[in-house]
C-alpha cells in the first residue's frame, strides 16, 4: 500500500466531531488515493454522513485535520469546494424546476460561463441519458432519474473528487445498477469517489471499504482482503445426519456456534482452539457418516458483523464467556 503522498487526495487525521453529548465521529484517520472508489459502510448512525459532511467542509471537526486535494478544508474552504462534488443524502434537486433549470442553477453557483455550462450540461445529460427529459419538472422524474439528475448537478463543475451520501437509498434495483454503472464510468475518467452506504451489496463496488461503527472507522481494506482475513473462523459441514452432527459439534472444544443453513451446518469457531480438520475428525470419531467440511466463503455481511462483535468485545474489556467469531 505504498503510495506517494501526492497520490492521496483525501487525508483525515484524528478527526472527532461531537453533537452535544453524542460523539458522532471519533479519532478518524483516513487516506483515500487518487482514482479510488472508497466505500464508507456501516449501520445507520455510524457517523458516515457526518464524516462526508466534514470532508466537504459543511461541518467542522472539533478535533483533527482534514486535507482535500492538498488543501486544508477549514482554511481553504473555497478551493476545496471547487475540487469537490457532493451529493447530499436527499439531493439538491428542486422539484418545481425542470431538469435544465436545476443543472443551470448549480452551474451558475459554481460560476461556470454560460457557453461552457450548456456544453457540459449536454454532455452530462447524454451520459446519464436524461437528455430527453430536459424540460421535464423534477417532480415528474422517477426516483432513479432524479438521483441521476442530482449526480449531474454535483458534477457540473467537474470536480476531481465526488462524495456520495447514500446515493441509491430508496431506488429500484435496475436504477441502482444504472447509477453504479455511471459511477464506474466516472472512475474511468480518473475521478476519485467516496460514497457512504448501508447496503453491503453496494459496498462490493468499492475498490476499498471502510467499516464505520459508532463513530469509529474499524477497518479499511478491499472486500477481498476483508473476506480472506475472515475465512479461518467459519466452515460448512455437510452430512446426512445433521441433527446428530450438530449435537457433537456443540460439545467440541473451540466451537462457538452451530447454525443450520440450508442442507448444511454453519460452524463458527475460535481458530486458536480448533480448525476445520479437527472438527472433521471429531465428527468421524463419533461415527457420523459422509462428513464433508469446507471452508465457508463469508459474505461481507458475515465479515462486518464479526468485526463489529469483535469491536464490541474489545469495548467491554475481556469479559469471559463471550461469543467469538460470529
Amino acid at each position: 500500500m505504498a503510495a506517494s503522498s501526492s497520490d492521496i487526495v483525501v487525508r483525515a487525521r484524528g478527526v472527532t466531531r461531537r453533537f452535544g453529548e453524542i460523539v458522532a465521529v471519533e479519532g478518524l484517520d483516513l487516506d483515500v488515493r487518487r482514482g479510488e472508489v472508497f466505500g464508507l459502510v456501516g449501520p445507520d448512525g455510524a457517523g458516515k454522513t457526518t464524516t462526508l459532511r466534514m470532508l466537504c467542509g459543511l461541518l467542522e471537526p472539533d478535533e483533527g485535520e482534514i486535507e482535500v486535494a492538498g488543501c486544508d478544508v477549514r482554511r481553504q474552504r473555497e478551493r476545496v469546494r471547487e475540487d469537490l462534488g457532493y451529493m447530499a443524502q436527499r439531493g439538491g434537486i428542486y422539484d418545481d424546476l425542470t431538469v435544465e433549470e436545476n443543472v443551470r442553477f448549480y452551474a451558475d453557483l459554481y460560476g461556470i460561463p454560460a457557453r461552457a455550462r450548456e456544453e457540459r450540461m449536454s454532455d452530462l445529460l447524454r451520459l446519464t441519458r436524461l437528455e430527453p427529459f430536459r424540460r421535464r419538472r423534477a417532480h415528474q422524474l422517477s426516483g432513479g432519474m432524479r438521483q441521476k439528475l442530482a449526480l449531474v448537478c454535483a458534477l457540473v463543475h467537474r470536480p476531481q473528487i465526488l462524495l456520495l451520501d447514500e446515493p441509491t437509498t430508496g431506488i429500484d434495483p435496475i436504477s441502482r445498477q444504472d447509477f453504479w454503472a455511471l459511477v464506474a464510468e466516472l472512475r474511468k475518467g480518473g475521478m476519485t469517489i467516496i460514497f457512504a452506504t448501508a447496503y453491503l451489496d453496494e459496498a462490493e463496488r468499492a475498490t476499498r471499504l471502510g467499516l464505520m461503527y459508532r463513530g469509529r472507522l474499524l477497518r479499511c481494506a478491499s472486500a477481498d482482503v476483508l473476506r480472506r482475513g475472515f475465512s479461518g473462523q467459519g466452515c460448512e459441514v455437510l452430512t446426512p445426519e445433521r441433527a446428530r452432527a450438530r449435537g457433537v459439534l456443540r460439545q467440541t472444544a473451540g466451537v462457538v456456534e452451530v447454525e443450520p443453513f440450508g442442507a448444511a451446518l454453519r460452524v463458527f469457531f475460535d481458530p486458536a482452539l480448533t480448525s476445520p480438520e479437527v472438527l472433521r475428525r471429531a465428527l468421524e470419531a463419533e461415527g457420523i457418516p459422509e462428513v464433508t467440511v469446507r471452508p465457508l466463503a463469508p459474505s461481507l455481511e458475515d465479515v462486518f458483523i464479526a468485526l463489529i462483535r469483535q469491536h464490541e468485545r474489545a469495548d467491554r474489556g475481556k469479559g469471559g464467556g463471550d461469543r467469538v467469531g460470529h
Binding site: L84, G91, G92, Y94, D96, F105
Partner: protein, 377 residues
C-alpha cells in the same frame, strides 16, 4: 460576494414563485383585499350619531335646544319619545347611541335665571365612539349656553356685545378629517410587512425541509448571497404590491398624495428590504415552515398593526409599550408615509425615520446572514 451567484439565487426563487401560482395570487390579492376591507370598513369618523330626545318640557326653549342637535352634522335625531323607559329599550336595540332628557321645569328655571339641568345618556359599550359623541355634545351645549348668555347681556345693556374670543378652526393636511386619508397610507406599511414576512419566512425553512439546503451549502455560494438572492425575488413582488396599494389608494379611495411618488416608492423599498430581512432571519432560525409562518405573522403583522401608530395612538400607550414601539420599523415607515401623502414633506424632514430604516435593514440582513452561517457550522 459575487453578483452572478446572487442573481442565480434570485432567478431560481423567481422560478419557484412563477411555478406556484396560488401563492403568487395570494401575494397580489392580499393587498387588494386588505385595502378594500380597511378602506371601506375601518372608518373611525364619528358623525350622524343617532339620538333620541325625551322632551318633558315642550317649551320654545327646549325645542330650541333640540333644534341645535338636529342641525348639527354630528347628530341625527332619530325620534322623540313620550316615555323615558323607551330610551333603554331603544338603546338595547342599538337604535340610538345618545339620548337627551329635558325635564319638565327646564324652561321655567331657565327663564327665572335659575340653574336648569338636562340629562345626556350615552351608550358606553363602545367607549371610543361614546367619548367622541360626548365631546361633540358638550361642545354643542357650551356654544348654546354661550350664545344665550350673549343675548342676555345684549338685552340688559342694549349694546351689541361680541364674544371675547372668536375661535376659528382650520384643519391642515386632512381638512375634512377623513380617517381614510390616514388609514390608507398606513395600510401600505402593513401590507408590505405581511407580504414580506410571510413570503420570506417560508423560503429558507423550505430549503431545510426539502433537504436542498445541505446541497446549496456545499457549493461556493455564500450565506449573504443566498439571503440577498432570495430577498431580491421577493423584493420585486413587494414593489408590485406597493404599486397596487398606491394606485388603489390614490385612484380608488382618492387619498391625496402630495409628496413625490418616487420618494414613496424609494422609502417603501427601504422598508421592504428590512421587512424581508426579518422574514429571512426567522427562516434562518427556524427550520420548519409551519413554525416560521406562525412566527412571521406574530412578529411582523401584529406589531405593525398594533404598535406602529397605524390606528392606535402611541402617545396613549403605557410607557413600557411605548418604548417597544421604537423597535417596530412600521412605526417609522408610517410616519414617513403620512408625511409624504398628506403633508407632502420632503425627505429632509424625515431624516431620523429614514436613518432608522436603513439601520434596521442593515442589522437584520447581517443577522440573517450570520444565523445561516451558524446553522451550518
Amino acid at each position: 460576494m459575487t453578483w452572478r451567484r446572487t442573481w442565480a439565487m434570485a432567478r431560481k426563487e423567481f422560478l419557484h414563485i412563477r411555478r406556484d401560482p396560488r401563492s403568487l395570487l395570494l401575494a397580489l390579492a392580499v393587498p387588494i383585499v386588505l385595502l378594500l376591507l380597511f378602506g371601506y370598513a375601518l372608518r373611525l369618523d364619528v358623525d350622524r350619531i343617532p339620538m333620541l330626545v325625551f322632551d318633558a318640557d315642550g317649551s320654545p326653549q327646549s325645542r330650541n335646544l333640540i333644534a341645535r342637535f338636529a342641525g348639527s352634522r354630528f347628530f341625527d335625531v332619530v325620534g322623540m319619545v313620550e316615555d323615558p323607559a323607551r330610551i333603554r329599550r331603544e338603546m338595547d336595540r342599538q337604535r340610538c347611541l345618545l339620548a337627551l332628557v329635558i325635564p319638565p321645569d327646564y324652561s321655567r328655571r331657565w327663564l327665572r335665571g335659575e340653574r336648569a339641568s338636562i340629562q345626556l345618556i350615552l351608550d358606553g359599550s363602545d367607549s371610543n365612539t361614546a367619548s367622541i359623541a360626548l365631546g361633540y355634545a358638550e361642545a354643542l351645549l357650551r356654544e348654546h349656553v354661550g350664545s344665550w348668555q350673549m343675548s342676555v347681556l345684549r338685552r340688559a345693556t342694549g349694546v351689541m356685545v361680541n364674544p371675547p374670543v372668536d375661535v376659528r378652526v382650520r384643519v391642515w393636511y386632512n381638512s375634512e378629517l377623513r380617517s381614510r386619508n390616514y388609514i390608507v397610507p398606513g395600510l401600505i406599511a402593513i401590507i408590505l410587512m405581511i407580504i414580506a414576512a410571510l413570503l420570506a419566512s417560508l423560503t429558507l425553512a423550505r430549503e431545510w425541509e426539502m433537504g436542498t439546503m445541505e446541497q446549496l451549502l456545499s457549493t461556493p455560494v455564500r450565506p449573504s448571497e443566498i439571503v440577498l438572492g432570495k430577498m431580491l425575488a421577493f423584493f420585486a413582488i413587494g414593489l408590485l404590491d406597493m404599486l397596487i396599494a398606491l394606485l388603489v389608494g390614490v385612484v380608488f379611495f382618492r387619498v391625496p398624495l402630495r409628496g413625490d411618488p418616487l420618494l414613496v416608492l424609494l422609502m417603501g423599498g427601504l422598508f421592504l428590504f428590512g421587512a424581508l430581512g426579518w422574514g429571512v432571519l426567522i427562516s434562518a432560525l427556524v427550520r420548519s415552515q409551519v413554525l416560521a409562518y406562525q412566527l412571521g405573522v406574530l412578529t411582523s403583522f401584529l406589531p405593525a398593526f398594533l404598535l406602529s401608530g397605524f390606528i392606535f395612538a402611541i402617545e396613549n400607550m403605557p410607557p413600557v409599550v411605548q418604548a417597544v414601539t421604537y423597535l417596530v420599523p412600521a412605526r417609522y415607515f408610517i410616519v414617513i408615509l403620512r408625511g409624504l401623502f398628506l403633508k407632502g414633506v420632503g425627505v429632509e424632514l424625515l431624516v431620523g425615520e429614514v436613518a432608522f430604516l436603513i439601520a434596521y435593514a442593515a442589522v437584520v440582513f447581517g443577522l440573517a446572514t450570520r444565523c445561516l452561517q451558524r446553522r451550518l457550522a
